[in-house]
């Protein structure tokens, strides 16, 4: 047990956390992916975000205009005695989460889920992670009845960098979700090896 190494004098918790974001358009399967792979029943939490630039001159509507509540579904994977990975499904209905710095900061990487019937729904998330420099893989959730596309065709349609992995998946299948995360981690390892060594 990791807690055997817990040392109250040092004030250590024994485990350390990191996070992976699951993003994509509304209804593309983000919450299903979290449910499929999480070791706990997915949880939901809320955060109140300030809506920057919202009109505040009309006092009767201040609360509604000035802030918005964003709900987030998340799960957890204990990958070792030392490391817990949290999986956060980003809110799909609105784009307020793009302003949520705390959600994006410190993310290990991201999975952008796409549906070939509405490929453009994933573009805002792709733009966001590219802009933030957060590495991501594009995982195409193969819905029943959706035409199967070649990953390279999808890469072209989404105008992705040639290095960004594109995988087909079924988020209802545990092994499929696992393989998406494995592709992401292998991609992150490749990127880390291309970078100059960081002196810590």
């Amino acid at each position: 047990m990791a807690l055997n190494s817990f040392d109250p004098v040092a004030g250590g918790v024994g485990q350390q956390s990191t996070k992976i974001l699951i993003a994509g358009g509304f209804g593309v399967g983000k919450t299903t992916m979290v449910e499929t792979i999480s070791e706990i029943t997915p949880l939901r939490t809320e955060e109140v975000l300030s809506a920057v630039g919202a009109g505040v001159d009309d006092l009767t509507g201040v609360e509604r205009k000035g802030s918005t509540t964003v709900a987030l579904d998340f799960g957890r994977i204990t990958v070792s005695q030392e490391v817990i990975v949290y999986l956060f499904g980003t809110p799909g209905q609105d784009r307020f989460w793009f302003m949520w710095d705390e959600l994006a900061n410190g993310a290990l990487g991201a999975v952008v889920l796409a549906d070939t019937r509405r490929l453009d729904a994933c573009f805002p998330a792709v733009d966001f992670f590219e802009g933030r420099g957060i590495p991501f893989v594009l995982a195409v959730n193969c819905f029943d009845g959706a035409e199967l596309y070649d990953p390279d065709e999808i890469r072209g349609a989404a105008d992705l960098d040639a290095l960004v992995p594109v995988v087909l998946c079924d988020v209802r299948q545990r092994e499929s979700c696992k393989s998406v995360l494995i592709v992401l981690l292998k991609y992150l390892i490749r990127l880390s090896q291309q970078m100059p060594a960081v002196v810590s």
């Binding site: 807690l3 817990f6 109250p8 004030g11 250590g12 918790v13 024994g14 485990q15 350390q16 956390s17 990191t18 996070k19 792979i37 949880l43 939901r44 939490t45 809320e46 955060e47 109140v48 509540t69 987030l72 998340f74 957890r76 994977i77 204990t78 990958v79 070792s80 030392e82 490391v83 817990i84 990975v85 949290y86 956060f88 705390e102 959600l103 900061n105 410190g106 290990l108 545990r174 696992k178 995360l181 494995i182 981690l185 292998k186 992150l188 390892i189 990127l191 880390s192 090896q193 970078m195 960081v198 810590s200």
Partner: protein, 131 residues
């Protein structure tokens, strides 16, 4: 205390200010004594929290007691917020209080520069492959 600011009782008694549109009678920040800050510990949504001591007098209130109970094994701020059904900003204030009183300790997430460390990434990869 009402928000009328004049200390007057509303006509019809203390309950008359509220109707269905007023929302919950106890606003979330009432539990923090009105403070929205108190996050000097720089708690993050995935900061892990562990209970290291618990008072026996039970005077901390349901939310703080529940946090101490839940954190007997390490839990993230997000998990705690979900468990007590409060926004994370509110929960961070409560956890900061508990840290100040020495009841819980916290551990920050893996630092950004370590996220690009191949041996750390390999640990995560190995763990996922063994799921």
């Amino acid at each position: 205390m009402t928000r009328s600011g004049h200390g007057q009782q509303p006509p019809g008694g203390p309950g008359a200010w509220y109707d269905d549109e007023a929302g919950p009678l106890v606003r979330p920040y009432a539990m923090t004594g009105g403070r929205t800050r108190g996050n000097e510990h720089e708690l993050n949504m995935i900061t892990l929290v562990l209970t290291v001591a618990a008072p026996t007098d039970g005077a901390l209130g349901w939310e703080r007691d529940e946090i101490l109970r839940r954190c007997r094994t390490p839990k993230s701020v997000a998990e705690i917020a979900a468990a007590v059904d409060l926004p994370m900003t509110v929960v961070k204030v409560l956890i900061s209080d508990l840290m100040d009183r020495g009841y819980v300790v916290s551990r920050s997430p893996v630092l950004a520069r370590h996220l690009q460390n191949a041996s750390f990434l390999q640990v995560v990869l190995d763990g996922i492959e063994q799921l």
